[in-house]
Amino acid sequence: MEKLTNKDFSSDQEVRWCPGCGDYAILRAMQKSLPLLNRKKEDFIFISGIGCSSRFPYYMDTYGFHSIHGRAPAFATGMKLANPNLSIWQITGDGDALAIGGNHFIHALRRNIDINILLFNNEIYGLTKGQFSPTSKKGIKTKSNPHGTTDEPFSPSDLSLGAKSSFFARVVDTNPKLMQKIFVEAEAHKGTSLIEIMQNCVIFNDKTFSSITGKDVKKDAQLTLEHGKPILYGATMNKGIILNKFKLETVIIGENGITIDDILVHDAYEQDSTLHAMLARMRPPEFPAALGVIRSVKRSTFDNDMNSQIDHEKKNAKFNNVNELLFSGDTWNV
């Protein structure tokens, strides 16, 4: 197979996000990741809904579909069922995926259709100029509620794990390396791979993730999980997470007799999602926010199950073509 580079994945269309928008970094990371996947260029589809982020497919020189608001998982499902050989990437915003598209989103996760979903979570409706979204922090003032929202936000991790998500990862738009790593892992995972990207909207919700991504705080505010490794963070990696009864706690190695052996070891492959959910819920200031692949478990995929069933039925077929069906059963001649 010919060797592809990021250039092969850049379309001729001018990128039209606001200067400084987090989407640029994600686009670049994606264009760099695809060559690592060893797949043919013509086998990729980028499918999106509507939103700033949903313009993404136009900038990728692959097959692409900028569909309608909220429905991308349904299109993606049809695509993957029609052709299970394709590598399908759904691009979606927090409004697209969790407001109008919430239903398709949870059903895709439940079915575990083998696609990759990139959730560009900027906690705002960008394209329609700044209304609050289902992930906006309660109380923020936006055009559609200038007195502060009264909506309790979704936690994307809790919602998706509640919907039986088999793969959940998280990354910030300021970490291109981690993005690339996760994109590659997502593609390798069989089933619906959900990646929440904390993405900054400079125009309507600037710095909403600054307590996590701020240069000054990020060492203590971010924790990158790796399967099989102890859960450590901090500038010198001397901080860690332990499990105390039913709660997570942060500790410092060397203090209060804590050693590396006390630190929780991350098990992304564990079927029970309880601990994954707890890790994903961690937030500054009490905790660092968990990044990386938080959950990645084996579960049969919808496309594969359907195709096995079809293969099985074909093998045990009563009819091999339509004519045989038409002339089967009770017929009579005139």
Binding site: E42, F65, Q309, N323, N333
Partner: protein, 617 residues
């Protein structure tokens, strides 16, 4: 047992007979009806059937709301409707009698399960006293059979429990009717053997009861004779009995095979369309992929996704579901992808009359989307031709890369008739309009003649491109906000559909090609309109029937036809939607209307008398 012959039975017309089986939802009337149908079909009768059941799964036992009916019209002549009125009614309880009292021909036969005619059941049916005691059924041939008792008696030595024994009584009724019409019982016997293959006791019991019913009828001499309906003079060929929804499903299977495409169905269950999903779900062995989506929107969107990836993609629904699919259909129109949307119409608005038939989604099919968004609209017109129209819809959508909405209705979908089986080899070729590797591909470049663009399927090397719902630039398909381009694209999308009228056949007329009265219909009303016009033609009335299957575009000779008649009446099961559509398209004509909005098909009789009135004025 008692048989009150209130009158000498009139001799039923042996050319054709309408029989209605009616009983409680739990009484197995649908099965009884289907068995009689299949047997008659095998004997070579032409026929048409129509089930009529309540919206509840099981409405309260014994009530009128809970009556389930199955009507069958058989004949040695051409049969086009399930009949307006029954020659023979089987009524398993008082509610069944009450529900059908206006649907029995004066002088017709009524077979009654007299065991169910007691005070409790009268009350459940809303009768104060026995309807048999007053004079309501004078002039009918009333056959009172103790069906429950005799069924129990027949099975008194059986190992079955009481419930199963009770359930077998429909076979007794079927036996009576088989005797009446001189039908053999083998077909039903072998059916029972397959159906209950795991329970030989049940097989034996049911067969025994059916024979008991047959013998009972043979003995009682309630009827002066038994009747024969000769086999119809149908064109030569192999026949089978098909229901509309089944025929539709099979039409799609055939189209996919002939187009060398995988068939994909994205759908959400809804009455009366669900049976298409059920039927296609059976045929995984033919490679069909059925996806029961989380809702109608996911149904249509998954289909569009599958279409983009090369499947023959369809989505099936009924009125409220079509309302939900509008936005998705708009996207298919903008992206110019193949897609067939089936609407098996039911009574509206809103949830309306979900188990009843109607033709009131026409405007929604034509216009139920934002912006200028023209789609091809077709309508099937008989249960069997649902096959052909599914096939044709698939052919058009794949060859022209433009969505097609196919209208059926509850009457067609659930109705059945014999179908002369076609071989897939004899069907028109389907040549999907697809770009191939190595083509110089511009997504929105078009065939000059039919104006359709080529689609390129993911996985095809070198044809990577992006589609979407924003306005497309002519030729390149890039996003374009250019004013002139938008106007141009709107025109192309509409002209593409208009050009189809060059390809589709001319509209045919049945009866006179010109003259006094042109009867216009579309879709599911064909049978009744045809029967009515046929009768009028026999009396040498100057009348023609123009029944449409192509709605958008209309056949190119439509205007010409209109101009050849003095009077035009458009008959529809809605408030006049097609009439309005014709008014938009053809000025200078007067379109009279004949409409019915009762959840039931037209009867030929009401049509005939209305047409006679028009002809006489």
């Amino acid at each position: 047992m008692q048989s009150k012959i209130m009158n000498n039975p009139k001799v039923v017309d042996l050319e054709k007979v309408v029989i209605k089986f009616a009983g409680d939802s739990g009484d197995g009337m649908q099965l009884t009806g289907t068995q009689f149908t299949d047997t008659s079909a095998l004997l070579g009768n032409d026929l048409a059937t129509f089930p009529d059941y309540p919206a509840e799964i099981r409405a309260p036992q014994g009530t009128v709301a809970g009556v389930s009916g199955f009507q069958i019209h058989i004949g040695s002549i051409d049969i086009n409707t399930p009949g307006d009125i029954a020659d023979v009614l089987v009524a398993m309880n008082p509610a069944a009698l009450k529900a059908n009292k206006n649907f029995i021909k004066k002088g017709g036969s009524i077979i009654i399960n007299i065991d169910s005619f007691n005070q409790r059941d009268f009350e459940k049916a809303g009768y104060k006293q026995s309807p048999l005691e007053d004079n309501s059924f004078e002039g009918y041939n009333l056959i009172e059979a103790p069906i429950t008792k005799l069924t129990r008696e027949t099975l008194k030595d059986s190992k079955l429990d009481g419930k199963s024994i009770g359930r077998a009584k429909n076979m007794f009724a079927l036996g009576i009717v088989y005797w009446m019409f001189n039908r053999p019982m083998q077909q039903t016997e072998s059916f029972l053997k397959t159906k209950f293959k795991k329970s030989p006791d049940l097989v034996e019991a049911n067969i025994k009861v059916m024979h008991a019913g047959y013998n009972f009828a043979d003995t009682i001499e309630a009827l002066s004779s038994s009747y024969t309906v000769l086999s119809a003079k149908l064109p030569k060929g192999t026949y089978r009995n098909v229901m509309g929804n089944q025929a539709m499903s099979w039409g799609f299977l055939a189209a996919a095979e002939n187009a060398k495409k995988e068939l994909f169905l994205g759908s959400y269950p809804i009455t009366p369309a669900s049976d298409i999903l059920h039927e296609l779900a059976k045929h995984k062995n033919l490679g069909v992929k059925t996806f029961q989506a989380e809702d109608e929107i996911a149904g249509v969107c998954s289909a569009i996704g599958a279409s983009f990836c090369g499947s023959l993609a369809i989505t099936t629904t009924s009125g409220p579901g079509l309302a939900l699919k509008g936005e998705g259909i708009g996207l298919a129109i903008m992206t110019e992808l193949p897609l067939v949307v089936v609407d098996v119409q039911r009574g509206g608005p809103s949830t309306g009359l979900p188990t009843k038939t109607e033709q009131s989604d026409l405007m929604q099919a034509l216009y139920g989307r934002n912006g200028e968004s023209p789609a091809v609209v077709l309508a099937s017109s008989t249960p069997a031709n649902c096959f052909d129209w599914a096939y044709q819809a698939s052919k058009i959508t794949l060859e022209h890369n433009t969505p097609v909405i196919l209208l059926s209705d509850g009457y067609l979908g659930n109705g059945a008739e014999p179908w002369k089986i076609k071989s897939t080899n004899d069907m028109p070729k389907i040549n999907p309009n697809v770009a191939r590797e190595g083509d110089d591909y511009l997504p929105y470049a078009r065939d000059k003649k039919i104006l359709s663009r080529k689609i390129a399927i993911p996985g095809t090397k070198g044809l990577e491109h992006r589609l979407g719902g924003l306005e497309k630039e002519d030729i390149t398909g890039n996003v374009s906000y250019d004013p002139e381009n938008h106007e141009k694209m709107c025109k192309i999308r509409s002209e593409k559909i208009n050009r189809l009228s060059n390809i589709i056949p001319e509209q045919k007329i049945y009866g006179n090609e010109s003259g006094n009265l042109l009867v216009i219909g579309w879709g599911g009303t064909f049978g009744s309109l045809y029967s009515a016009v046929d009768t009028l033609l026999k009396d040498e009335n100057s009348v023609g029937l123009c029944h449409f299957n192509y709605i958008n575009p209309l056949p190119r000779n439509t205007k010409e036809i209109l101009s050849k008649f003095n009077r035009i009446v458009v008959c529809e099961l809605n408030a006049g939607q097609f009439a309005n559509y014709l008014r938009m398209n053809f000025q200078g004509f007067v379109f009279e209307q004949y409409n019915k909005l009762q959840g039931f098909p037209f009867t030929s009789i009401e049509l005939e008398s209305h047409f006679k009135l028009l002809l006489s004025k």
